[in-house]
Amino acid sequence: MLKQLRPALVMIVALTLITGLAYPYAITSIAQAVFPRQAGGSLIERNGQVVGSALIGQAFTGDRYFHGRLSATVAPDPADPSKSVAAPYNAANSGASNLAPTNKALIDRVQADVQMLRTAASAGAAVPMDLVTTSASGLDPDITPEAALFQVPRVAKARSLGEGQVRRLVEQNVQGRLLGVLGEPRINVLALNLALDDLGKR
């Protein structure tokens, strides 16, 4: 028993130094030198101000912007820190709804959102699934191309732009599958909205 105690002590300390400090510090130094943008969180600046990360979704609620997925993230309640309140796209506390497919709360929520989108949208357009469901991280930066096209009439009207012009912008922003095989086609909502703002300036 005692004979094994010394190696146990030495090994846990030594391996902590190697894998817990040397390894992450080495990776950090190399990463900061070779891939500084990614290592820092792929931040996007506009006029010297950080407006977000290319990989992290953010909340859009106005008619002038394309909207992302629904987000189920929460934050501590300012009135009572032991409780939490809804705080969509809280990038310091990722999380999901975790609602079961048979939970009435899920079906009721989706039904209300579908009705709202139907009345707002042009008649007859099918509501895309990803616009009425919450993402797994609450920070999903993407929507499907269908979900973006669904919103074109609303955004075009709010910005007094031609629908064709906005639709072209959406199509330019579609990221296909990697090598045509991996993942799913998607549109980064923040990138699309930044491009939309630039379109207005030109």
């Binding site: 010394r6 146990a8 090994m11 846990i12 391996l15 190697i18 894998t19 817990g20 390894y23 992450p24 990776i27 950090t28 990463a31 070779v34 990614q38 290592a39 820092g40 969180g41 792929s42 931040l43 950080v50 407006v51 977000g52 990360s53 990989l55 992290i56 979704g57 953010q58 909340a59 859009f60 990038a91 310091a92 506390n93 990722s94 999380g95 999901a96 709804s97 975790n98 609602l99 079961a100 497919p101 048979t102 939970n103 009435k104 989706v110 039904q111 099918a126 509501v127 699934m129 993402s135 797994a136 991280s137 920070l139 999903d140 929507i143 990697l178 991996l182 993942g183 799913e184 909205n193």
Partner: protein, 567 residues
Amino acid sequence: MTVNGWIQVALYCAIIIALVKPLGYYMTRVFNGEVTWLRPVERALYAAAGTNEREEQHWLTYGLALLLFNGLGFLLLYALQRAQGALPLNPAGMTAVAPDLAFNTAISFVTNTNWQNYGGESTMSYLTQMAGLTVQNFVSAATGIALAVALIRGFARASARTVGNFWVDLTRATLYVLLPICVVLALVLVWQGMPQTLGPYVDAVTLEGGKQTIAVGPVASQTAIKMLGTNGGGFFNANAAHPFENPNALTNLLQMVAIFAVGAGLTNVFGRMVGDERQGWAIFAAMGVLFLAGVAVCYGVEAAGNPALHALGLDGASMEGKEVRFGTLASTLFAVVTTAASCGAVNAMHSSLMPLAGMIPLLNMQLGELIIGGVGAGLYGMLLMVIIALFVAGLMVGRTPEYLGKKIEAREVKMTLLGILVLPLVILGFTAIAVVLPTGTASMGNPGPHGYSEALYAYTSGAANNGSAFGSLTGNTLWYNLTIGIAMMIGRFFVIIPALAIAGSMAAKKTVPPSAGTFPTHGALFVGLLVGVVLIIGGLTYFPSLALGPIVEQLAMMAGQTFAAGN
């Protein structure tokens, strides 16, 4: 289901199959002491530890060394979490982790479970993530590999008293297998967008003028080992669904490959060490059959979607709890991979999967995660099933069962049954208590049969050392922190010790040459028998518990029934 979906599955399987031989070759050389490019570091470690690398250990000493090392690791990780508020590398100002949560998390990481009752970015300092969680990610995986190698030696040796030296196996698994692969993988992950910084969280002003605080950190270095070591504890609360922890389809594929790589390679190490690679391929084939069956069911059920949502005029699979960049296939494939191995990372929320699709991860864990398994743990789980399969085959023809020239006798079968029976005892026992105690049911986040499934999933995940969850269960309570903690400990060590005992007694046996009556263990008949035994044991043990949860929920869903809270 789509053609593209199945092409993605095929591509994944092809990569894994291609990795089996090279990884098996390399790891065999590592554990035979033929890989030497880090000799100076190795020598310094053994000298400081005062251990003689040539001195091998009896299985009892090997087990004692393993337990001592894990015990110290537990104490260190617990202390680190409790003291993090006063320690450096804490830019977000995290305070001490509560005692019951720190207890649960320390056991969770030492046992390679990585159950997350904590939210990474809202609970843990950078120092805890690096010097605590990352370290246990490495060494709990290395412990599993060491144990698998010891068991393989038991089968490979004849008339031997020892099964190897734990300190040497631990060191070599860490230095030569896990660390080099992680360095490369972590850098590729950063290149693809994963943060790796010790700087503070970033404040952004969004396009609409809102304030967004973006959590960052040393994510890539931890994610690499989290996957390769089949640990699965996320840097962020949302785990591999978080865009920083899994930015795109390529990182998703790499992470899934990393989960299976070491476990798949170990089947080949087994074949090489016992002197017949076909023995390793037979075990790999049995794992493959079970894996593909799981993928087909999970993907098929999920792609069919939720009738209650279709009734609202929506099309296709539900996207609740999924990310757009992964969609249905990459989400379900990941769910099957992460529970076939004992990883437990998730890129979609299992709780929101269709009931039968969510049952596949549950069943994978209940079968004992022997499909590839945790690094090491899968192989020893499967070898226990091999013993049962041969015992059954022996009973059918009335011969003493043999495996690789060793007679399997009462002692081995008893130890195997001990290892196999402890899981259902813990899983079903704790679940039964949790569903009648008010403190157990209060944590359930969904009404109806799903609430029961949450508790069943939690104890299954804990005892099987997986760590994935039906996240709707509020696990951070005194009751769940303690009971899941106990389940994790029993599920890990009460399987490890019988497995080591088997290694010791197999190593001591003489080898008998094969005769005309020997049942060949490298053919399709054996693979079929092995798969059958796994399914029969798992089915008989767990079918009633699954019928009460996911199966009845799926039937209710098909019939259009929903469940509301409060009735």
